[in-house]
C-alpha cells in the first residue's frame, strides 16, 4: 500500500486508483463549471440547454447583488467573520498559552472541560442565550451573533493552540525572565511571533467555519440587515425558485461559493494541515 517513489510502471499498476480520482474530478468540474456558466446565461438558455448562447449576461450578478441584497449579505458575512475570527484568537490564545506551558492546580480539569464542551450540541445553549439576549434587547444587533461565534469556537481553538504552544522550546520563558522581561511582554513579543504558524492555521479554519455557519445565523439574524450570506442565499433560493429566475439563483450561488473557494485555492495546504493536526492528536 504505502509507497512513495512514482514511476511509469507503477502508474500503470495504479490505473484503478487514477480512474476513481478522475471520476471525482470530472464530476466536480462539470458541476462547478455548469453552475458558473449558467450564472452568466439567461433562464431560457438554461432550460433549453443552450448555455451562453446569447453571450455573457452580467445582469444576473447585478440583480443578485443589488435587487436581492446579496451585497448587503456579503458585507454582513465579512463583518461577522472578521470580528469573530479576531475575537476568538484574543480569547483563546492567552488561555491556550497558560494551559500549554504552565503547571498549576486544576490545569487538567480546565483542558478536559474545554474538550467536553466541544461535543455539546449547539442546541443545548441556543434557547437560554436567545432568552437572555432578548431581555438585554440585543436581539436585532450584530453583537449577539458575533459573541456566539466567538464563544462557540473558543473550545476548539484553545484545544488546538494548547498543543501547539506546548511544542515550543521550554527554555524561552526562563531566558526572557533572566533578561528582565515581564510574563506579559514575553507572551506578546516572544511567544506569539513564534506561534504565528499555528495561530494563522487555526485562524483560517475559524474564518471558514464562521463564514459557512448557518444554524445560529438562521435563528439570531432574523432580518435582512443582519443576515449573513448563507441565510440570505437560502431566502433567495426560495424566492428565485418561485419567480423562476434560475440564472439569478445560480449567480447567487456563485457569489456565496467564490470567497471560500478562492481562499481554499490559495491556502489549501495550510487548511489541510490544520485539520489533520487538530483531529489526529486527540
Amino acid at each position: 500500500m504505502r509507497n512513495s517513489t512514482p514511476s511509469l510502471k507503477k502508474d500503470m499498476r495504479l490505473m484503478p486508483e487514477y480512474t476513481i480520482l478522475l471520476i471525482w474530478l470530472i464530476f466536480s468540474i462539470i458541476t462547478i463549471g455548469w453552475i458558473f456558466l449558467a450564472s452568466f446565461s439567461t433562464t431560457r438558455e438554461i432550460f433549453t440547454n443552450n448555455l451562453l448562447k446569447s453571450g455573457i449576461h452580467f445582469l444576473n450578478y447585478w440583480k443578485a447583488l443589488v435587487t436581492q441584497n446579496v451585497a448587503r449579505y456579503f458585507l454582513n458575512s465579512a463583518i461577522y467573520t472578521c470580528t469573530s475570527s479576531i475575537g476568538i484568537l484574543l480569547v483563546s490564545a492567552p488561555a491556550a498559552y497558560i494551559l500549554g506551558r504552565f503547571e498549576f492546580k486544576g490545569r487538567k480539569m480546565v483542558i478536559n472541560t474545554f474538550l467536553v464542551t466541544m461535543s455539546i450540541p449547539t442546541v443545548m445553549i441556543i434557547i437560554p442565550i436567545f432568552a437572555v439576549m432578548t431581555s438585554l434587547k440585543l436581539i436585532g444587533s450584530m453583537f449577539t451573533l458575533i459573541i456566539l461565534y466567538i464563544v462557540s469556537n473558543v473550545p476548539f481553538t484553545v484545544y488546538f493552540l494548547t498543543s501547539f504552544f506546548s511544542t515550543l522550546p521550554k527554555e524561552l520563558e526562563d531566558a526572557a525572565a533572566i533578561d528582565g522581561c515581564s510574563p506579559y511582554k514575553t507572551f506578546w513579543s516572544i511567544i506569539l511571533p513564534l506561534a504565528q504558524n499555528g495561530i494563522i492555521t487555526v485562524g483560517i479554519f475559524n474564518f471558514m467555519s464562521v463564514w459557512n455557519e448557518y444554524f445560529m445565523a438562521l435563528i439570531f439574524a432574523n432580518k435582512t440587515e443582519l443576515r449573513p450570506l448563507g441565510v440570505g442565499l437560502q431566502a433567495i433560493v426560495q424566492s428565485m425558485r418561485s419567480i423562476g429566475d434560475y440564472a439569478g439563483l445560480f449567480a447567487a450561488v456563485v457569489i456565496v461559493f467564490l470567497p471560500t473557494f478562492i481562499l481554499y485555492l490559495i491556502l489549501s495546504g495550510r487548511i489541510i494541515s490544520g485539520i489533520t493536526g487538530g483531529a489526529v492528536k486527540g
Binding site: W24, V110, V123, M124, P128
Partner: protein, 303 residues
Amino acid sequence: MKPKRTFIIVFLAPAVLSFLLFFFYPLIRTIIMSLYFVKGVADNPALWKFVGFNNFINLFHSQLFRQSLLNIFKIWFLGGIVTIFFAMLFAGILTSGIRHKAFWRSLIYLPNTISAVALATMWIQFVFSNQDFGLFKAFFRFIGIQALADIQWTEPNFIFTSMLIAYCFGSVGYFMLILQAGIERIPVEFYEASRLEGAGIIKQFTRITLPLIRDVFRTCIVLWSIAALNFFVWSQMFSPNPDPNTITPVYYLFSVVFGSSMGTDSNFVNVGAGAAVGVILTVLVIVIYGAVNLVIPERKLEY
C-alpha cells in the same frame, strides 16, 4: 518556572468566563427548562409551568419526532458506512504512491470548504434536478439507462436518499484527511517487510493498517456521530418546510421553538419540548461516547 498567580488568572479569565456564561449557564438552564411547559422563548422563568417528564413523554408520542430519530439513525448508520468506506478508500489511494497527491487531496476535501447552503443548492438545482439539464437525468439518458434517468430525485420517495448521497459526498474529504494522516504515521518498513513475507494489499490492510489506525478510526466514529446528531442544514435545504421524510431532531427543535407551524403536533408552541430535544441529543452523545469506549477502548500504541 513558577508563574505568578495573577498572570495565570488574567490570561485564563476570558476563556473560562465565556465557558461559564455561554456554555455552563445555558446548559443548566436548558436541562431545567426541559421539565417545564414554556410558551415563549424569551419568557421569564416565573411564567414556566412545571410538568415533570411530560415533555419527554409527549416527544416520544409524537410521530414526527420519532420519525426524526429514525432519520438520524439512518443518516448515522447508512451514511456512516458509506462515508467511512469512501474516506478509507480515498485515504488508501492517496497513500498508494500516486502522482500529485496534494492536488487530489485538496480536490476531495473541497466540498467541505463550501457553504452547505451553496453546496445543497448545487445538488438540488443542478445534479438532482428533474429538468432536462439535471446532471443525473442527462447523464443516465446519455448512457441509455432510462430507468435511472426517470428517477425523480427530489420527490418524497427519493428525497432522503438524495439528501444522504449529497451529504456523504461532502463529508468524505474530511474523514479521508484524518484517516490519511493516521496511515502516514505508520512506518513504511512495516509494509516492506510484509511484502517480502508475501502479504497482498488486502492482508496488509487488515493486518497492518486497520489495527494501527484504530485510535484514528475511533476519532472518526465520534466525529461522525456528533455531526449526525446535529444534522440540520441539509435537511432544511432539501425540505424548506418540515417533512417527515427528511426531518431531524434539530430541525424539529427549530420548528417547535423558533418557527414554522407543525400542523397538529402537540409540542408546537412549547419551548420546553425543544429543550427536551436538546437533552435527548446530549444523552445520545454521552451514550455514543460510552459505546465507543466500550467497543474500541483507547490504547496508545508505540511504533
